[in-house]
Amino acid sequence: MKKLVLKLIVYSILVVLSLEILVRVFHLTKDYPERYVDEYDVEKWVPNQEGYSVTGNRRQNFSKYHINKLGFNSYREFNPSKDKVEIALVGDSFIEGFHQNYYNSIGKKIEDKLKGVEVYEYGYAGYDLADQLHLINKYKKQFDFIDHVVLGLKFENDLTRGEYNVVQDRMVFETPLYKLMKEIKLIVYLQSNGFFDHIRELGKKTMSIENSLDEPKINKEDTQKNIELKYFENFMNLISIYGFDKTRFVFLIESKKTPELFLAYLKRENFKYIDFSKPFETSKRTPTLIYDKHWNNHGRDIIANLITDYIK
């Protein structure tokens, strides 16, 4: 038995080491840029970083990112002025666009269609409406020069809070332990491809069995309604705190995933929005990546076309 255990340990170590080497050699996993919180309490990437983002077990999607001087992934620096026409895209990872080469982003696609226009992509993974409005508010001087501001809004994700504060959960990734884990590429690879999901699921299952023993039954429909009402309230709260320039600001929405009530409210209150539900549904090709629901090149084309049409 000793022999078995010993051999298993030795083989496991050797295999893990070999896998780490293979993951590195084939660059199968993404690089993590460093993040920080600036003097305005805005969370963003440390400026002037470069690296590669990878999606899929077999590097199905491989793209380069470039963090500009302001801390966002973009091929250009953001220098808005009165003399130019600028568009700002503000949003989460979909706008951030680590799933594309930074020189082939939605912004670049729009610029190719609208000559002379500069597009600034203020995208950061995890940004919700509170983050977006806080950013616009803190960088007011810049944004005042920008002619059109498009804000990505996913109802079920982006309205979970009614006021801004720095999300400490994300900043945990900058702790020494996480930094060390990020250095072990095999862990990053396994994590990004869902290998640890089952461990989490098993943990959740165990927890839910324990909890279900003493928790009263909840009506799911009521809970859903309450959540929607809470999100609605958060939306109104954020708008009242930061204001909203309805002449320049427009939401980018997938109406299919947005409650009717909220859409009706936006219409009634003259909040403009660009809806990408239909073009995504009717598209012959899938607009998203395989192992990741972010937009692929085709999806980004659709979004760029919609924004261009709107601006025109």
Partner: protein, 483 residues
């Protein structure tokens, strides 16, 4: 609990450690552990159906004792019928009840009468029922034919029936092999355990890398076959051939490997069927435990081949039709069985059904001869064609699929709607076939290389491939669970 789940990888070491370190040297206690572990393993799917396993165990335990106590052949036979009627009845109700009712309704409607299928029930198919009922029946048969003395140790018998490595999808063991091992003392054997671990690794590779990764393409092509050109349909059914092989042989390897961890040797279930040189050889290499079962308990009792040619053909046809029906309550499986009977009979009539029994393609050379390549390709094509019936949702869909291939041939490169990179899968299949060819002589030693370095490189590649093709969103159950 499925073999390729995290739960199993927690469950297995616990049972292993208890088995060898806590209960070592006490066969009875080890058998009780196997029984409890097996019931936990099965109960995590649906504990209600444990009662069926228990019932089948009790019935065959007492039937066998009764048969053994009697001398008169007719009485022994009557008790054998009790086992057959009970087990087939159990199968009939849970697996075929709705099929018979619906077929009856369809038949009546063809004759112009409209009746509603009010007798159709929402019967859930208990996982593994086709496997353990056949296994318990084999015990009663063996006792009846006096090939085996019945055991009086009920717990060990219950452990034999429910032995978790092979409970839900085989290999369907004969009592003379498995029960005798369970009744006797097992010793911790390093080589046997290492060999078991290797088989588990190889089985997982076939399941995760071959079967699961091809599933999205196969599902898409069979679901939307009417929209694809014939070339894509051929690709779809070819991929299904590899998928079902990877899935089921992968399961069997994990089962055999797991059993080895407990000092138990199960029979081989797959012997590289993709390298068969005719359909008869294919059936000596594919799902061997089921073919053996049918040969021993259906074909030979019917007279086998030691009767007139006509009767032998009848026997072959019966075996294939019953085998098709065993797979599922759908006309597609019956057609699949009938098709195999049709392609097997000519081989039988030419006297070539046993010519490749003890050899493998490229027996004495590394590379196969051109004739062998032709034979292998032809057999693969025939078997793959039959799988159109096996995989289609209905017999109408199967014939439309075939019709499209033969009447509307056109070629177009296939691309999956989700945008999967197809070249990865083509390369994967080619490399898999090459590797299987290299190891074709011993299905129980997938990593039989003399050099430690080569072995280590192969292990690493196998594990690395699992990482490369693993899909966390994939439904991880095995195809043969539905049977």
């Amino acid at each position: 609990m499925v073999f390729n789940s995290l739960e199993y990888f927690i469950f297995l070491p616990i049972v292993f450690l208890l088995y060898w370190f806590v209960l070592n040297k006490r066969v009875k206690a080890q058998n009780i552990l196997i029984l409890v572990a097996s019931y936990v393993f099965y109960g995590l799917w649906d504990w209600r159906f444990l009662s069926l396993i228990l019932l089948s165990t009790v019935v065959d335990y007492f039937v066998a004792l009764k048969i053994d106590s009697l001398d008169e052949k007719s009485k022994r036979k009557s008790w054998l019928w009790v086992s057959v009627i009970f087990n087939v009845g159990l199968l009939g109700f849970f697996k075929y009840y709705n099929f018979f009712i619906d077929s009856w309704v369809d038949m009546v409607s063809i004759m112009g009468y409209e009746i509603k299928s009010t007798w159709t029930l929402r019967v859930i198919l208990p996982v593994g029922i086709s496997f353990y009922t056949f296994q318990t029946m084999s015990y009663s048969f063996d006792v009846y034919y006096k090939k085996l003395k019945p055991t009086t140790d009920f717990l060990s018998f219950a452990a034999f029936v429910s032995f978790f490595p092979q409970l839900v999808a085989g290999p369907i063991e004969r009592a003379s092999n498995l029960l005798s091992q369970i009744l006797n003392k097992r010793t911790f054997n390093y080589d046997q355990i290492v060999s078991g671990l290797k088989l588990i690794l190889w089985g997982l590779f076939k399941k995760i890398v071959i079967a699961d990764s091809l599933a999205p393409m196969v599902d898409d092509i069979f679901t939307n076959y009417s929209t694809y050109p014939a070339s894509t349909l051929i690709l779809g059914v070819t991929m299904f051939s590899f998928q079902v092989y990877g899935d089921f042989s992968g399961y069997s390897d994990i089962a055999i490997g797991t059993a080895k961890l407990f000092g138990v040797e199960l029979m081989s279930n797959f012997k590289f069927p993709n390298f068969s040189r005719n359909v008869a050889e294919y059936w000596q290499r594919w799902h061997v435990s089921l073919s053996t079962w049918f040969r021993h308990y259906v074909y030979i009792p019917l007279g086998g081949s030691k009767v007139s040619k006509l009767k032998a053909i009848r026997n072959i046809s019966i075996v294939f039709l019953v085998s098709g029906f065993w797979h599922g309550a759908n006309w597609t499986f019956i057609f699949w069985g009938a098709f195999h009977a049709l392609v097997f009979i000519p081989v039988f009539l030419m006297g070539r059904n046993a010519v490749y029994k003890d050899s493998v393609v490229g027996e004495n050379t590394f590379l196969p001869t051109l004739t062998e390549v032709g034979q292998v390709l032809l057999t693969f094509a025939i078997v793959t064609f039959s799988r159109i019936f096996f995989r289609s949702e209905s017999i109408t869909a199967a014939f439309s699929f075939i019709n499209k291939i033969f009447t509307d041939f056109s070629y177009e490169a296939y691309s999956h709607p989700m945008g999967y990179r197809m070249i990865d899968y083509y390369v994967l299949i080619i490399l898999f076939v090459i590797y299987e060819y290299i190891i074709r002589k011993d299905e129980r030693s997938p990593f039989k290389f003399k050099s430690k370095v080569v072995r280590f490189i192969v292990y690493t590649i196998v594990i690395f491939s699992m990482l490369l093709f693993y899909d966390s969103h994939m439904d991880r159950s095995f195809i043969y669970f539905q049977f």
